[in-house]
Assembly symmetry: C2
Homo-oligomer: 375 residues x 2
């Protein structure tokens, strides 16, 4: 164990244009601090945000009296929240600080009326390679190479939307059928609207302390690993981005002393349906080409042997970029301490969080963070 | 000593719209790596940028073969570069990593055609409180309270522009007289154009290793402290933002075991002329109200007893936000190892870097970073 998660909290997720980012942050931080309870004051804050204006965290925290400590904003695309968590964990693990707040804030509905384009001035952005297009290429390739159908892709959305109906804070609260998913508007062939995570506003937080600290509701961190992309050969079978997940997982499992089949519950980066399928393969839950079968046979449903994205995932809980990673951490903590309500996974003792940030041809992911948590 | 700076490098600074951010980064990183020389590979990278698109650092580093390591982008307004430096230093000091690259990148000329407004959707932004206006209020207050004139303010610009002519990489390369400065266009009363730092493009880098590592050109880090704003009383004499500098300096000097009069050379946050004056007071180089005298009597000129901003500072070297802090670090390293060319400060053994990030009514600064370096 390298650290302990003493408390977690989140705002609701969804389109909340009427709320200031600080209001979202207050909901998350207050809940996390209340659970963490008495103890040393917060020594430092790491904040994940991608589009937050400079000072957004300082203003939110100032009003809570969290002042005069180092506050550092971390950006790592979709993995910004887990990057803030990772830095918080290692700041405690290395003895720099005793109690650290990890906070993710993102307010997106004001800013976006379409997909996020990685770098608009670059070749990829100019040629239309927004993230839906990149994931769509991955999906097309997957459909062409493996014995899977469009129904298999859609089944991920059906599962995660069903989970979302059991999460009162999720953005999407409606059950969807395979037909609903396939009949929704085409965004980037073969990915339809309900296979793409929605633009969201939200915040999430975690209080981190030394291993073994914290009360009954605390959760241990066995490992947290962050890696950026490598020099993969794009002509190989190492399809876009997921080689980074595979590599990061190997490191995280080794540090934690676990194997993939030890995982009882997983929150992973289902920004698009294809993302969950290939990510579960990269995480070692299935062989290459067999990820869709995990959804088809119910393995990754609530009630299955390894529930994946019980919170609803990015597809249904929503994806406020900087907050997402800490929302995943919060969900796994709730699952490991029997506080997940109607979506509770029975007897989970090892939970894993995985977030993939970015992913642009030539770089293969700005960052992947994988953390192994234990009740 | 908590760490060693093994190598530093920078791009040129100025309006360079034809260069990609990666090209700016390559110049800085290549120079820093070359100086750092053989040794362990880079274990991690902390990148300071405010306006850089997600992935900008990963793309730049990928082309240099710096891959498959944690890359974390840090934002702390104008102190983003020194925040990346600070995290790099403490990541090494705490034993997390052996060799860390701190990199600052900022490409601003494409994005700005006027002042930076802290948070356009907030009350301050809507009421016109851009940074020139905030510093102008500080300057007006200073002129009203102390026995100083507009000429005293302008003298800071005259000194730093003169220094800039000795720095081949500085954005501004022209000597300016008091009249030139006062006759330039009024930006925010009483601050004229030449009293405001210019929008710039640039990059800067430092390679950090354990204390005592590195060759002849390496520089020791005695302390690096980062703090966010406190709950100051705005009705008091603790004028905007500088109480944070004073407080951070106390911590940094104590950790380093120095006093203000031990400082041989200083790079500080002269985003506006008033900034340098009040900052030198907050850093303990002069009593309150006496900062302007340091410029008037030549104390802080090249050849004076404590040269301040020998590089030209933000006013003349330019202020590419995320790169500035690391440009300051590079300048102090060059000064402490007799590599500062025509602007060399004689016999400097203790150098200090100070950067102030943000500064908005009610928060008093997103961050201040102060580092004490020793040859």
């Amino acid at each position: 164990m390298i650290a302990s998660i003493l408390g977690v909290g989140t705002s609701s997720f969804g389109k909340q244009p009427h709320l200031h980012p600080a209001e979202l942050a207050w909901a998350a931080v207050a809940e996390a601090l209340e659970q963490a309870g008495d103890g040393p004051e917060i020594d430092a804050v790491y904040v994940g945000t991608v589009f937050g204006a400079p000072g957004v965290a300082q203003r939110a925290l100032h009003a809570l009296g969290i002042v005069d400590v180092p506050i550092l904003t971390i950006e790592n695309a979709c993995a910004s929240g887990t990057s803030a968590f990772h830095e918080s964990v290692h700041a405690v693990a290395s003895g720099r600080f005793e109690r650290v707040l990890a906070l993710g804030i993102e307010k997106m509905t004001d800013a976006f009326d379409g997909p996020i384009i990685p770098e608009p001035t670059d070749t990829e952005g100019r040629s239309g390679l927004a993230l839906p297009a990149l994931y769509a290429m991955s999906a097309s390739r997957y459909l062409a190479k493996h014995d899977v159908t469009r129904d298999d892709l859609a089944a991920v959305a059906v599962k995660n939307h069903a989970n979302g109906t059991l999460n009162p804070r999720a953005q999407k609260q409606r059950r969807r059928s395979i037909d609903d998913v396939l009949d929704s508007r085409m965004i980037a062939e073969p990915l339809t609207l309900l296979q793409c995570c929605p633009i969201a506003d939200g915040a999430a937080a975690a209080v981190i302390g030394p291993p073994g600290s914290g009360g009954d509701g605390s959760v241990g961190v066995r490992s947290s690993v962050l890696r950026s992309g490598g020099l993969w050969d794009h002509r190989s079978d190492a399809a876009w981005g997921f080689e980074l997940v595979r590599h990061t997982a190997e490191l995280a499992y080794t540090e934690a002393g676990i194997q993939a089949d030890d995982i009882d519950v997983l929150e992973c980066h289902d920004a698009f349906t294809i993302g969950e399928i290939v990510t579960t393969e990269a995480l070692g839950l299935a062989e290459t080409g067999q990820g869709a079968a995990l959804v088809r046979d119910g393995t990754t449903s609530l009630g299955g042997s390894t529930p994946v994205n019980p919170s609803g995932g990015l597809l249904a809980r929503g994806h406020p970029l900087g907050a997402t990673g800490l929302a995943q951490v919060a969900e796994i903590c709730w699952q490991l301490t029997d506080r997940a309500g109607e979506r509770q996974v029975a007897d989970a003792s090892i939970g894993v969080v995985e977030t993939m940030g970015g992913g642009v041809a030539g770089v293969d992911g700005n960052a992947c963070v994988i953390a192994v948590l234990e009740r």
